[in-house]
């Protein structure tokens, strides 16, 4: 089995880890990592940059830290090595954008939006365009905001407001003008900046008939397949919604109308990401019809890769929850995850 060769290193942090991301590499040696943490002893929430030294065994040490007013709900980074931007949203309804120093991997400056007209109550999800110029934020208050990141600061624009009638949990850009959001009842919405006034199309919440309803926690959209929206949520549910076949999502894991698909677990799927490292075992069947492999982390401590029609491949099984993870875009064999018991784990796949 492949697991036998996976190197796993754990770094106790003595702080709870709410989110982790790889930053694009700044120098040739160290790999910078951003983590959203909470120090319970000092009662401080902060964004930290750590440097991952690649020697064997790898070493993780803190480079810089910047406090935030409350717990971070979502963390994203731009893929721009010359000027990396880190975006963080909080449960207090504030949005923070940090620009990192390109060489020293330290946080240089912060701009923030902390206006009640932006979001009232927790921001549940944000996504940053790869270029770092535009950001979408959604919240439990039912607002969908677009934030433009300019030289002079942030300017926000309320794209939609459901006034609390619908709560959104996650957001993801599909293209410079389109994005997807997810929410309660496993519902997904597709939006287009050019067509304001409501979602362009939506996956209705009651598709999971027979199974238990739940909420979407995370969405991912593959850059090469923008019409497929991958989502993970409650009760071990992972599904793909193809805009071309709108009414029936494809279930990868979870209880649904299709009895043949067993859930990987019945606990929460906290995050999903396409895994470009795992190649399908059969290259012929990996044609366009298939759904690309996707990595998920779960409340019951499993980090696994799901492939359509195959057994899930478990990478990590922990006694505690895995709350977040990120795959290194530059070097997809590396995965970093945040564990419930105050530790960061780094996986190196063979």
């Amino acid at each position: 089995m492949a697991e036998a060769y996976i190197q796993i290193h754990k770094f106790p942090q003595s702080k709870s880890i709410n989110a982790v991301r790889f930053l694009p590499p700044l120098s040739a040696f160290d790999r910078p990592i951003v983590a959203a943490v909470h120090d319970p002893d000092a009662d401080v929430f902060s964004v930290e940059i750590h440097a991952l030294e690649p020697q064997n065994p790898p070493n993780l040490h803190l480079q810089s830290s910047w406090p935030t007013p409350s717990r971070i709900s979502s963390l994203r980074v731009s893929q721009t090595p010359q000027k990396p931007i880190i975006a963080a949203s909080t449960l207090g309804g504030t949005l923070h954008l940090f620009s990192a120093h390109p060489v020293e991997a330290s946080i240089e400056s912060e701009v923030l939006l902390a206006d009640r007209s932006f979001h009232s109550g927790p921001i549940s999800g944000i996504d940053l365009q790869g270029t770092g110029t535009e950001l979408v934020s959604v919240g439990e208050d039912g607002r969908v905001n677009l934030v433009r990141v300019g030289e002079s600061g942030l300017s926000s624009n309320r794209f939609f407001d459901s006034r609390g009638l619908v709560s959104y949990k996650a957001a993801r850009w599909a293209s410079p003008s389109e994005f997807a959001t997810g929410g309660l009842g496993f519902s997904l919405q597709w939006w287009d900046q050019r067509k304001p006034g409501g979602p362009v199309s939506q996956l209705k919440g009651d598709w999971a008939r027979g199974g238990k309803s739940g909420m979407v926690h995370s969405i991912d959209i593959h850059p090469s397949r923008k019409h497929v929206c991958m989502a993970g949520g409650s009760s071990g549910t992972v599904f793909a919604w193809d805009l071309r076949w709108q009414q029936q999502p494809v279930l990868l894991s979870g209880a649904g109308p299709d009895e043949t698909i067993q859930p990987l677990s019945v606990s929460e799927v906290w995050e999903v990401q396409y895994d470009s490292y795992i190649q399908s075992s059969n290259p012929v069947s990996a044609a366009s019809a298939k759904i690309l492999p996707v990595m998920v982390c779960l409340e019951d401590g499993i980090l696994a890769v799901l492939k359509q029609g195959e057994e899930p491949l478990e990478l990590l099984a922990e006694p505690c929850a895995i709350n977040c993870f990120d795959i290194d875009q530059q070097n997809p064999s590396d995965v970093i995850c945040g564990l419930e018991w105050e530790a960061i784990a780094i996986l190196k796949r063979p």
């Binding site: 319970p40 717990r71 039912g142 009638l165 309803s213 929460e268 105050e342």
Partner: protein, 714 residues
Amino acid sequence: MPSLVSDPGESLVPFSPQVGDPVVYPLHHGLKPPFARLSISWSRGNSLRVAFFKTPAAASASSDDETGGKVLEVKLAEGGGEIDEAQRRRIAYESVPVFAHLQMRRNSADSLSRMSYGSSSYRAEWWQHVMEYSKHISSILGAPKTSSSSVVEDPKTVVKLEEEPTCLKAAWDLMEIFYVDKQARAWLPERLVDWLADYDGLLSGPDSTIHSKLLSLQKELVNLQVIEDELKYWEAMSSALAVGWLDIVVKLLRLHGSYKLDQLGNRETENGLVEAVAVLVSTMPRMRPGLAAQKPGRCYGTKPDFFKAWEKWRGQMAKLDCSAFWVQCGHRPTREGLRNLLQVMLGNTSSLASATCHWLELCISHFLYVRHFTTSLEAIHSLAQKCMQLKPPSDSQWLTGLMFGILEENTEVVLAECSRVFGPWMVTHAIELLTADNVQADFLLHEERYNLGGISIEELHRIVYAQVLSSHALTWPIAPVYLASCPKQGFGLLEILLYRQPVQHDKTLLKNLEICRLYELDNISSCLKKITGMHHWKHGKKGSGVFWLQQAQDDVRLNRIAQQLFEFVGKSVSDDSFKQWEGLIELLGSEASTAGGLEFLHKYKDFKKSLQKVQDGKASDAARQAIEYLIQLMKSPSTPERFWLPLLHDSLNLLNWRERPLMNVSETNLLLSKLQELSLARLRPGFCDSHLPPQALSSVRLALATNLGRAILE
């Protein structure tokens, strides 16, 4: 519960009656006195919550930026333990799976072999499990001492300074030796020798230990020119020899000046004596199965073998002691030092006493050189008492209480010492060791006690530990593991614990629900969902509110909030804001059972949509569709009365459809009868009128009548 024990004399967890110096915590509240009220209460963990209230008049009179009061949290410092909070949490986390695993084994073993509980095979197997558990916990408390010898070894490094061991680990290992490690029983004294070698550094309080002696020698070693002239050098060696650290002794002996090449010639006899002693030291017989690699000494597994070897070794020593070479040895410190080493090895009690510092060191030296076969606890106990008379321990020694508890086979004392020195974590986890192979302790700790409210001592300590875990925001989720292992009160407390967790954020709530699912607490889980639903509803997040109430299947509340929703719908489902509603209505689903009257909204939405199509100028098919929805709505018992008129008024267009009548006679009659019902209902008190123009009713009636006429004609 601990509070039930009212008499301190009977308390299981002893507390010292002495009161330390009061500690002053300055508070920076930044408010101007006077205060009307001051409230002090316990917050999470070890913090106090202090609230200052100003008199309302004073607050309003003062400047605007000053508020009416302030709440501060004061963290009361820990007693300066060797383990900080973060470390304590790490230990707590890592011991959870180990503990849970052992409990699982116990449960499965109990269910499998309830009949053969007392049988020896069961006991043996169980003891094996506890041994594994103990080793695992010990590794969590600190990495085992690595005896890795680097290739280039510094000859002047006598004592390796590694990661400082903790008293917690030392105490754990000590209990493992006495309670669990069956294989060690035959060579208990040697196990204690090993234990002391690992943890001697921890015994130093105000008194010095052999470890600290060696450390101070090592510091000076670099500066000493003629080492064998130093008294310290010889003293350190005899001390190390007394407690069996043979490798250190041999290493130190080889530092002797007579080994230097330039001096070898004129100090031949001296060197011969030093080497002879070194050889004797490194061939000392030990009553144990084996030694770590490259450690000097010879091991013998059985008593007769050992005894024979010992006699032979002593014979060699006696021979050397009477040898004539001593007279020829000109260097006095060497002569005396070496002879003192021989005295130690010959078991001269006064030499042993002067070579050791701590009572336990003295005790161990007796095991090594005087009483090799002391294995009964009673014998060790009496020896320890004698040693203690010679070297009385200082007050703050954690070891003494624990050791004597163990030697006196007094389980309560051991537990009390563990609790006093190391706290609830230690007690909870150490109970498994105490009961592993001791039926008496097993009975004592599992007996249900009236004075503890019907729970056993074991359960009491687990509950206390679970409460400590619950008091911290990050460790509370592991408290259920311990509470679930409490048969009497565990689940009651677990329910309380889950109730008291905040529900505002879905992520934390979902984690709570996961715990409920694991322990099959369905009623708690549905309560939490209801609480969350109401919380969201009250905070204006209607969608979330409805979602969680649906999850809880709380039809009563859903019906109540349905009435409120209808208010909003009646007012705000104008055409442009309809998109906002769509999402919520989708969420409700079409199943009537879960929505509690809200399925009306679903039909209403369909109706509105088709109506919109009609207005957009679509064909009459759409109009016919809209009429069908209207009839469905009007037939359905769940459509509230106050919607009847607005619905009919909205569809005036359809009723007056130009091309042909859209409804047949019976459908029209149904609507007319509903209209009649409505006009009667208007006369009743408490009827709430819609926001339609006053002539609405008559215009609808007219339209229906016209339609009826046209339908009859057709």
